[in-house]
Symmetry: none
Subunit: 181 residues, 4 copies
């Protein structure tokens, strides 16, 4: 693990456990086992560290989910697969998910970061659009469809640290029942 990674890792742990504000740069340096000054060689400010960490995780998250997209499969299969990937990611990286959910509304997050992370998920939109055209899913505003299911799944995952395959299937089923026509 490079020094930069160990700093990001330490920051993630502390931010999630204690909150961004209760986590001083000194504390992060201690956890990352480096000097305070060292951190400033990699991140010019605490704000940048927070934004970089957020961006890092969001990119991993979107990459993981988007790997589910295989246009050879049916729309239903693709949509459900993105949900399963999201659940898997959350269970494998609970801290990472908690961080992006807790601080996605933080006023410290720069708009460009919010926009950039939002764009990462654009490919998802198209599937839902196609689904609607095919008459498979409800003919509602795509943003509403996605928001609804994303909110449901995220809430579910934030509330449980463990899920059996059956649990996952049940959640996915609820999601599909919600949006299917």
């Amino acid at each position: 693990m490079t020094k930069k990674e160990s700093i990001l890792s330490a920051a993630l742990h502390l931010f999630v456990d204690r909150g961004e504000q209760a986590t001083s740069m000194k504390l992060i340096a201690g956890e990352a086992e480096c000097g305070i000054g060292t951190m400033y060689n990699y991140f010019p400010s605490k704000e940048r560290l927070i934004n970089d960490l957020y961006l890092n995780i969001k990119i991993s998250y979107s990459n993981y989910i988007l790997e589910a997209l295989d246009s050879d499969n049916s729309i239903k299969h693709q949509i459900i697969h993105t949900w399963k990937r999201a659940l898997e990611f959350a269970l494998a990286h609970p801290r990472e998910l908690k961080y992006i959910e807790l601080f996605c509304q933080s006023p410290i997050l720069e708009d460009c970061v919010k926009t950039e992370t939002l764009n990462k998920f654009l490919p998802l939109w198209e599937i839902y659009e196609t689904g609607k055209e095919d008459g498979i899913i409800k003919d509602l505003d795509t943003l509403k469809l996605i928001t609804f299911v994303k909110g449901a799944i995220t809430a579910t995952v934030m509330n449980q640290s463990e899920m059996s395959p059956e649990d996952m299937d049940a959640v996915v089923q609820m999601g599909w029942d919600a949006i299917k026509k």
Copy 2:
């Protein structure tokens, strides 16, 4: 509006717009048009102000939703009515909803406050239990059912400041489709 209310109101506005940490006691005093010391006549610390505000809103919220419970109606009607009440509350008090959603995970929130607010929603659980017994809704863990729909509805409402009656009906329909058997 009493002085205490104006302080709570000012705090709510600023917390939601700028974040808890970026909001100093001085700033709140300015918005509430009172001296800094005055705030400490009503709240012994910033921490208590935050907790009291949270508790206040959560109680209003639960009261508003629970008024929907009328055992003369069908289970389906009752459940859907709670969702509509939640949507109504959120649209009428967007800042209040945003506050409780943004800071419900804040490490500054005392456990007793979390517990107390949780208990307020216990009556809801029973309806879902009955619904399961009657074979109307899916036979899943009640916590999961509630978490799923609550997450979905909250996410929806946090993303839109306005909703037409049709929008509301559409969301409610998705919710019901998700949990119905």
Copy 3:
């Protein structure tokens, strides 16, 4: 006990037990069982309260000691009697003595109060002067003689909350041996 006296009494207790700075006006009002504003009807400021309290006690103290002066008695008898009176006062009013000893150097004490209280003890000086003229006590600077014995007796009394008559006699004897020729 008049309201003014109860305020002074409360202040004395709290000042000695917790220190002047750790004692707020609110605390004194609580102990004196009156409103904060009430105190300001009797003492225009905390500083005045402190000075008045100091002056009050010092006057009681000097009055008590000076009653020992009876020019019909021998110089030795008079001097020793002042010491005994000082010991008696200290044992009867330990808090009062502690207060004037602890805070006699406080920068908050006004010079006029210091001077005034000093003057109260002037009659004592004359006895020592006479004692020196009579060749009974050592021919040293009067201030030094008084300072020496006063320091010794005060230190003794601050260190013990109780003294038997024998204890008192022993201390008095040491004092006399110290200054006698």
Copy 4:
């Protein structure tokens, strides 16, 4: 002078001249010519600064006095020598003496510090015990003997910034006359 020493020195000056309470951390930092934060690198709180300063001085003081103890000399010589050392220290370091005398009763002083400084003077007790066994000094409680003379000498020294050798001899003589048999 190290930074820590300059902070302690500045604190001593200001505490003695203005009182502990009237001396803000900002004022000390100004006098020590360092930033406020710097002080907190050496002392975690004002309270600890006060205690450390007290402990520092008390140790210097006791070390200086105890150097007077040479068991080859007579008891009388040893006792008198400790007094002379105490006088010398006080005259050489008037501020230091004033500090430990003014604030020895401060409620801010931790008990462990009081105990620790008390223990430093234990060796003195033994000389007085021996003196009593030898029938040289009065057969009184050792604590009373020490308290009496210590109080007398301290009061003397607090009242005069300068003393000639004759003055010192006179004070020492009074002390010895007080306790000798």
